[in-house]
Symmetry: D2
């Protein structure tokens, strides 16, 4: 993935973040998920008065993709106009189910992007023993 | 909402359920969410090896809607080919943030549908006191 | 359960709330869970920078009880010095697994308590169809 | 922390796992959390028919500790008689709020333990930007 492609995906995430529902944290986050088949799915964080019932932008994008029949992912960009957004442990867990080599792209703006593989962000991942 | 409209929404939910990712429970669920503006958003359950990291079909549909700029909802149908699906407490909590009068439609098949308002399914809902 | 017993349980919940970890919402909640065998377990809300990773006071009390071998519950009081606390949908879902007749006790102070059965707070609860 | 201390903590986790409530996965997990002040708190996984409403053993131990006024942790052992248990992303997120240097101890039995720091298991952790 070229730097230009990374920037383009990050811009899609930033664009999506405008529709985030974040009245409690004030932290508006968008995500753009590039599937192996080339499709891009976006997501935003959706908060809730009962904080644990909220869902992060990354997982919103993930469920949108799975709903459209897509389960193999190449890259995920995360962006916020309110400060640099990194990926929380719940979202790392969610995507480790599908694509351990997913490239996670984040940064404060498109000139300062970091790309890391999911397997580096969640090493020694949880595995359910076979029954 | 007429019975025919309810059935049509339920069929959309059932259709979506084919793309559910449910390798742990074997319970494939789909949801179809009718927004006040007439748009319909679908979702499926997406399970995870760490069970608490999974997301139900209803919330998948909800985050898809919010991501597309939609926050007011009229009806939500839930369906599964594996048995009657009802709405869990987490999903009730999620939608109580947006539409307390949401009509929740569910049943084992389209000839046996029940419709209940969300405020009946989650009475005395949780409210975060003002700071 | 007498009104005096309800008040006593509510006081235990209020007392526990002092140890809540709630730097994000500022809403400190405590819970006191009376098991069928007479033991009382307490819990507090534990928030997280990633809001969905937090856990409510009621479920903290519930996991403490299960950890000590207890799975049948009689009453659950919820209290906060920061405003009236009611039970969110996630916590209703959590306890519906164990005790549908659980008495949930809440209010702004011990002179204004409401007691409702869990099955009224989460009617038509979610059931996983048999495989 | 000596190897003997690690084994002793792991045994406490294994012992706790007998009280796990895991009817859906059949994977019974226990956790033992050593606080900086020397106290040990245990937890078990508590599953739910709505899988996302369940709570892992590690977080059960964590909420028990916070409820008892403890927020600084030294080591956390995770154990299961049903296969090696590792720590999921949600639990890593939960503890990163409190102790980034927490030693996480796990393995299939006390003769095969691995110890890793939490900050290695959840690098580049999520931070909520200041408002």
């Amino acid at each position: 993935m070229t730097q230009e492609e990374q920037k383009a995906l990050f811009r899609r995430a930033m664009e999506a973040s405008r529709r985030a529902y974040a009245p409690y944290s004030g932290f508006h986050v968008g995500a753009a998920l590039l599937a192996e088949d080339g499709r891009i799915f976006t997501g935003v964080n959706v908060e809730n008065a009962s904080y644990p019932a909220g869902i992060c932008a990354e997982r919103s994008a993930g469920t949108a993709a799975v709903t459209q029949g897509c389960r193999e992912f190449k890259a995920l960009a995360v962006a916020s106009p309110d400060g640099e957004a990194s990926m929380c442990g719940i979202c790392r867990q969610f995507f480790s189910e599908f694509s351990r080599d997913l490239a996670v792209i984040y940064g404060k703006d498109e000139e300062h992007l970091t790309a890391r593989k999911l397997c580096e962000l969640l090493p020694s991942d949880f595995v359910l023993p076979k029954a």
